[in-house]
């Protein structure tokens, strides 16, 4: 589904990604771990199409198409979803309105008929139930006055409504207490399917107890220095990132 080859990206002429290679197939869950500053968030945002980052080298192919040629809204309509590390508050724009605009943008792109208010509400209510969330969320402006945990839950809720093919979760666990973490993890697990691929960007191993990955990659200074299965995460947890840095240096 996603093929990243030798990806180099910079921000303000500082190179952050220095040659990323990654291959993700449908049904797989990949965890990207690494110390602060390694480029994890940058990778997630570059996949989503954030224009603050300049891709200087390399390619990304998504479902066989050139992803780098696509505007962010096109990538979203093609089925890519980014759960933000810091979800934006948008006072004055209702959650329901926003989600319906997003759903209809994708449907229009695919040539499907748009959902009217009633149909949309039905869809959304089903997802609220599925994720065991609070319906009052729907009546509020996007993320306004939400706690950190509520914002992250809202990201997962949006993901459930938009049903992406490729979900990229950028540090969805940071700043959450255990209960919030469990709710978010549950929300993600419920969406796992053979047609969907998930990339989890995380600093801590803890999340991976609840969302068990198929592959774990460690990012260090803009490159993937080691890949393995879930046991790699446990090893990192035990020995810390510095162990890996030493191993790489030698």
């Amino acid at each position: 589904m996603l093929e990243i080859k030798n990806l180099h990206a910079s921000a303000d002429s500082t190179e952050i990604l220095k040659g990323i290679n990654l291959s993700v197939k449908p049904g797989e869950v990949h965890a990207i771990m690494g110390p602060n500053g390694s480029g994890k968030s940058t990778l997630a945002q570059v996949i989503a199409g954030r224009e603050d980052f300049e891709v200087t080298q390399g390619q990304i192919h998504y479902l066989g198409k050139d992803l780098l040629e696509m505007a962010p809204e096109v990538r979203a309509c093609e089925g890519i979803f980014l759960a933000f590390q810091y979800p934006v508050e948008i006072p004055g724009v209702g959650n329901t309105y926003f989600l319906r605009a997003a759903v209809n943008a994708s449907r229009k792109y695919r040539g499907e008929p748009e959902l009217d208010a009633m149909e949309f509400l039905k869809l959304v209510r089903a997802k609220v139930k599925l994720l065991k969330m609070d319906e009052t969320l729907l009546k509020r402006p996007v993320n306004e006055g939400f706690s950190g945990g509520e914002k992250k839950r809202n990201e997962i809720f949006q993901m459930a409504v938009l049903s992406p093919k490729l979900a990229v979760l950028d540090e969805t666990d940071s700043g959450l207490d255990i209960d919030a973490l469990k709710t978010v993890a549950n929300g993600v697990n419920v969406l796992r399917s053979p047609e969907r691929a998930i990339i989890l960007v995380t600093h801590y191993q803890r999340l991976l107890n609840y969302i068990v990955p198929d592959f774990v990659h460690v990012l260090h200074d803009g490159k993937i220095v080691k890949s393995g299965d879930k046991s790699l995460a446990l090893e990192l947890e035990e020995k810390g990132y510095s162990w890996l840095q030493e191993a790489v240096a030698s």
């Binding site: 989503a48 199409g49 954030r50 224009e51 505007a71 962010p72 809204e73 990538r75 979203a76 309509c77 979803f81 980014l82 933000f84 979800p87 934006v88 948008i90 006072p91 004055g92 724009v93 209702g94 309105y97 926003f98 989600l99 605009a101 997003a102 943008a105 994708s106 792109y109 402006p141 949006q158 938009l162």
Partner: protein
């Protein structure tokens, strides 16, 4: 200094012609009022950017135009704008003259007066003379004085003590297209009796592309505990000059809220002056301006806390697109005795293009020492993070920008209690935003 007529601009000349004809065949108190106003206008003339109060608002385009008085013959047929509901109480002036055919004054609640000001001057002279010109008195405001000297008609509204008027009272001013530029000077006087409650909508609409000078002045008096919810919608022609004053005088325990909604005019400037002359007064001023093209919209507000324990709350939002120019001046004067004043002022300005400009100035003059006065102004563009967030959900950039612009306006939109007016303002906003049809009902 009074200028010799030969050196006057075309504009001044055209007014001087009419001023020289004063006084008219009117009651002596009115003649005196007009004469005084004429003399004051002659002394001040048309303000230039050298006047502090007009520093950012260049009226040079006004000088070259000669304005004829709006004609006395029956005005061409006009349409009542659709947002004015059929059954609202409605007094209409066309080009500054009362139009009985376009008004709807049947079914007024008992004791409530809504009539032509010219008729009231004849029929209710004591009441009118007790209030007219008693509140809007700034001798240096050229356009206030011009209106006082030259007004022909407008609305006289009285709501008696304790009365609650359920339906909005709409004061509609329509400016039609004319062969030559003309001027009209509607004057409104609204008296809210003790503990009464009313909603007033002043709407100023003009024919597209017509050149005229509309010079409206409204005085509103709130007696003790009166509650007035006031809306001012301005949709003049983009070639028009709209220069006026709204003067509010509040007695103790009264509650006044204004919603100033500006979409039209080539050059527009209204001075909103609120005098809080009693304790326990609430005064709320909300403003929403959307300007584009080369429009200039100037909002000058002045809240005078003359007595203790009053609360004023001002939120002015301005959206400027293309090469438009916005000016905001928010003056608050807290008198020495006005302890426990609570005054808050916020002015937020959204620049949608690289060529639009805003001049914003808070002006706080505080002479009491036990008060809460805060003010803030922001000038900015749409939040890039928010735009990306929306795009990452599949929403096109253009639509994302319009959604966020509409969100910026939502504070003021939400507070419009007259539903038909609120929907109309939302329509006006969405019409002016790219992909605006998508943005309707964004909250």
């Amino acid at each position: 200094m009074t200028e010799a007529i030969s050196t006057m601009s075309n504009c001044l000349k055209s007014f001087e012609k009419r001023l020289a004809g004063l006084p008219d065949q009117e009651a002596s108190w009115l003649q005196a009022l007009r004469t005084k106003a004429r003399d004051r206008f002659r002394a001040t003339g048309i303000p230039t950017t050298r006047h502090e109060e007009w520093r950012f608002t260049n009226l040079k385009p006004l000088e070259g135009v000669a304005f004829t008085p709006a004609g006395t013959e029956a005005a061409p047929p006009v349409e009542i704008p659709p947002f004015v509901s059929e059954d609202a109480h409605r007094l209409t002036v066309v080009n500054g003259r009362f139009s009985p055919e376009m008004s709807h004054l049947e079914g007024l609640p008992e004791g409530v007066v809504v009539k032509s000001l010219a008729a009231a001057i004849t029929e209710n002279p004591d009441e009118v003379s007790a209030h007219l010109g008693k509140y809007a008195t700034d001798p240096d405001h050229a356009f206030l004085q011009l209106n006082t000297a030259l007004f022909r008609d407008g609305a006289f509204v009285v709501v008696p003590r304790g009365k609650v008027v359920e339906k909005p009272i709409v004061l509609l001013s329509i400016a039609t297209s004319g062969e030559e530029p003309y001027s009209a000077h509607p004057r409104n006087l609204i008296i809210a009796g003790e503990a009464c409650q009313m909603t007033v909508v002043e709407a100023y609409v003009g024919a597209t592309d017509s050149t005229y000078f509309l010079n409206p002045v409204t005085e509103i008096v709130l007696e003790q505990a009166a509650v007035v919810d006031h809306y001012r919608l301005q949709e003049e022609s983009s070639e028009a000059f709209h220069l006026g004053v709204l003067q509010i005088h509040q007695a103790r325990d009264s509650n006044f809220a204004d919603h100033n909604l500006v979409f039209g005019g080539g050059i527009s400037r209204v001075d909103f002056n609120a005098g809080l002359h009693g304790e326990g007064i609430e005064c709320t001023l909300n403003g929403l301006t959307l300007a584009r093209g080369s429009q200039l919209v100037d909002n000058h507000t002045f809240i005078h806390h003359a007595e203790p324990h009053c609360h004023s709350f001002e939120v002015y939002k301005t959206i400027l697109d293309e090469s438009s120019h916005g000016v905001f001046n928010g003056r608050i004067l807290v008198a020495q005795k006005a302890q426990k004043t609570d005054a808050k002022q916020t002015n937020q300005n959204l620049l949608l293009s690289g060529k639009s400009t805003i001049n914003t100035k808070p002006q706080l003059e505080i002479f009491a020492d036990d008060v809460k006065c805060t003010h803030g102004a922001t000038i900015g563009q749409l939040d890039a993070n928010a735009i990306f967030y929306l795009r990452s959900r599949g929403i096109r950039e253009e639509a994302a920008r319009s959604i966020l612009t509409r969100a910026f306006a939502s504070y003021v939109l939400e507070r419009i209690k007259v539903e038909a007016l609120r929907q109309h303002v939302e329509d006006l906003l969405c019409e002016r935003l790219p992909m605006g049809e998508l943005v309707q009902g964004a909250l």
